[in-house]
Symmetry: C2
Subunit: 405 residues, 2 copies
């Protein structure tokens, strides 16, 4: 007997037929003798519809009222799934955030879970009752409904698994696991049986939409074993776990890419102390996240070129921030470029192996792809390239690191 | 300065444009210096949609989960109206049943309000904040959401007005008041300026869908002055109040009719003690409500004919109940008839005036309309007639009692 948390996203509970299918998946775990808690999202499209209504009501909305409106979607699915389970003969009840309660911070619309009181849930689950928990929502210190931000049901599920000391948190979604790279680009992409938290974090932050970054951080911090699997197919998914649990760790686990990049280059920046602070301080003040930064060695000892990347959404704002600080920074020219992609090679194995970066550089060179910017972390090497070479680069690297099926 | 409760039904909050219009009506009362609490229904159609989902999930549904699902509609509109008021510069916040709380009985899906804790509301309203209360819902003794049954937001509003000791409860709906009769039948029907609780109760139970019967009972018991008015037109409505407040009480306030009637006649019933109990006991056991009953005097001292009415929905069940008790009752033949209408003349004035019933009988006789069954109460005379004469009867009576405009 195990204690499981199962999470179902919007596409998995899109209509009553899908909800019945989900109930069947839950029943199977119950029949196998497991104690089960379920976290559910709103029916797909519902949250967008509710958000649109709040925007129509008030452009600059009160986040507390926003939360009242948008949290209703998960309330509906929790009740419907409980009813459907009952109809199948499975004891079940719905739990809203305020009923458990799932206590959160007071940051409405972007609240963080602080504490989950599990005594009631544990008692009922021990009696064989499935706890169907409305995801995405909690109770703020003001006694009002809070929501966790988009994709928050992943976080609800992982936090619930941690609080319940669950053996595993199964995240059912519309993909069947984590792949070595995007299967739409590389046909031979393989589903990973296991992936470490650190690698999953890098993959998530690079735009692999399998899991919300925050939920992976939480799983890592709390040691929650998370399985990503499909509610549409009956097949094992990918287990996100501690790297110690991965016996045959590969050198590189995956190749990721992000097209949501934009590059800004400042030509002939004065090469004096404090210039970096003059550039990046104003950007930070505007909550503009800077990713890769490269500064060349100054040839003449007086000026240098400086390149950095931001997300494409932030590009316009970033340029205007820099231009308005032009005098303080002192540069000759600003060049921005949106036709770039960041390609990354990820693997905890590279901590103990040299030559991983070198393989990447050589492979790209062989294909005639120019590397514009390089950045590295302990388990990742990222390069910025011209985005027309994205597919070529990803395919070549997938083969070079022997990830092809 | 007055303290007001305003209630808006589903058609009044059907979409964001309607909600903005409603917010304007609320703002006007706030600008006039009034303290305002608002009770809102779900957007029209929403509750039906949610009910259909619960039926799809489980034919015999758990009423506790049903309440979780269907109560979400009012949650959404309460948040949206609060946002819209804020956008207009009016301080407002939404209140869900569990937040106030509105404590109810544990009869999920048909709960009764037991107590409303008003301290928080009174404090905020005193500071000029509009309390936007989600109608139709409360908190049960089990700590879960309850709902009050269809049309429950009228009851929410009246109970709130009683608890807040409000000067008036304004029920905004899609009709602009209570009329002397159905204006679709009688062009000269007049809107009543005032109507007594007792008369309104008779009108409501006869199918005038202006107010839910339960809310009128509650208003009468608690002495809440209720105004029925349209959210679509800018005109005073009808005040439902104690008859003492109605200075010029008319003899007859209105003519009502109900087509939802069916007649059952038992021919040659044994005229012995206990026969009525043998007939109506089994019907009561099946929760079939019997309205009018007529038993003729027995001619031969041994058998008699007995006629009674039930609603059309209950007719089939009623017939089968009677037929299965045929032996116990002892009758020769059962005749059922759905082509009947009940026409009623209502007025508290008839308590102190004779001849009201006589005017009715004479008027119908002059038009050649046969009266099948008669029943009377202190403030009402009802007759059952062939339903093809409905319009003719209602028009003639409206003129006879001098109700024409």
């Amino acid at each position: 007997m195990a204690r499981l948390v199962m999470k179902f996203g919007g596409t998995s509970v899109a209509d009553m037929d899908r909800i019945r299918h989900v109930a069947g998946l839950v029943k199977r775990e119950v029949d196998a003798g497991n104690e089960v808690a379920v976290a559910v999202s709103a029916m797909s499209g519902k949250t967008n519809e509710l958000v649109a209504l709040t925007k129509d009501a008030a452009a600059m909305h009160d986040a507390r009222e926003y939360d009242v409106v948008v949290s209703s979607g998960e309330q509906v699915t929790s009740g419907l799934l409980a009813l459907t389970l009952q109809e199948m003969g499975v004891s079940a009840r719905s739990w809203l955030g305020w009923q458990i309660p799932i206590r959160t911070s007071g940051a409405h619309a972007a609240a963080r879970i602080q504490e989950i009181e599990t005594s009631q849930l544990v008692e009922r689950m021990g009696q064989g009752q499935v706890a169907v928990v409305a995801g995405f929502q909690g109770l703020g210190p003001d006694g009002r409904i809070t929501t966790l931000g988009r994709g928050g049901t992943d976080t609800s599920a992982v936090a619930l698994a941690a609080a319940l000391n669950a053996d595993r948190c199964d995240i059912y979604t519309d993909v069947d696991g984590v792949y070595t790279t995007d299967p739409r680009i590389v046909e031979k992409a393989r589903k990973l049986e296991k992936v470490s938290y650190e690698e999953m974090l890098e993959l998530a932050s690079l735009g692999a939409k399998v899991l919300q970054t925050r939920s992976v951080e939480l799983a890592m911090a709390q040691g929650v074993r998370v399985q990503v699997l499909s509610s549409f197919e009956d097949a094992p998914g990918t287990l996100v776990c501690d790297e110690d649990e991965i016996v045959e760790q590969e050198l590189v686990s995956g190749i990721a890419y992000s097209k949501n990049e934009a590059k800004i280059t400042l030509i002939n920046v004065k090469d004096t102390p404090g210039v970096a602070a003059a550039i990046f301080g104003p950007l930070a003040d505007q909550s503009i996240n800077v990713d890769m930064i490269v500064q060349n060695i100054s040839e003449d000892g007086r000026t240098t070129d400086l390149t950095f990347t931001v997300t494409r959404e932030d590009l316009k704002r970033a340029v205007s921030v820099i231009e308005s600080s032009c005098k303080d920074i002192g540069y000759e020219k600003l060049i921005s470029d949106e036709s770039v992609t960041k390609v990354s090679v990820i693997g905890v194995g590279m901590r103990s192996h040299a030559g991983v970066a070198q393989t990447m550089f050589r492979t790209l060179a062989e294909k005639g792809i120019n590397i514009q910017v390089i950045s590295t972390s302990e388990i990742k090497v990222s390069v910025l390239i011209d985005d027309q070479y994205t597919e070529l680069a990803v395919r070549a690297l997938h083969t070079a690191y022997e990830l092809d099926e």
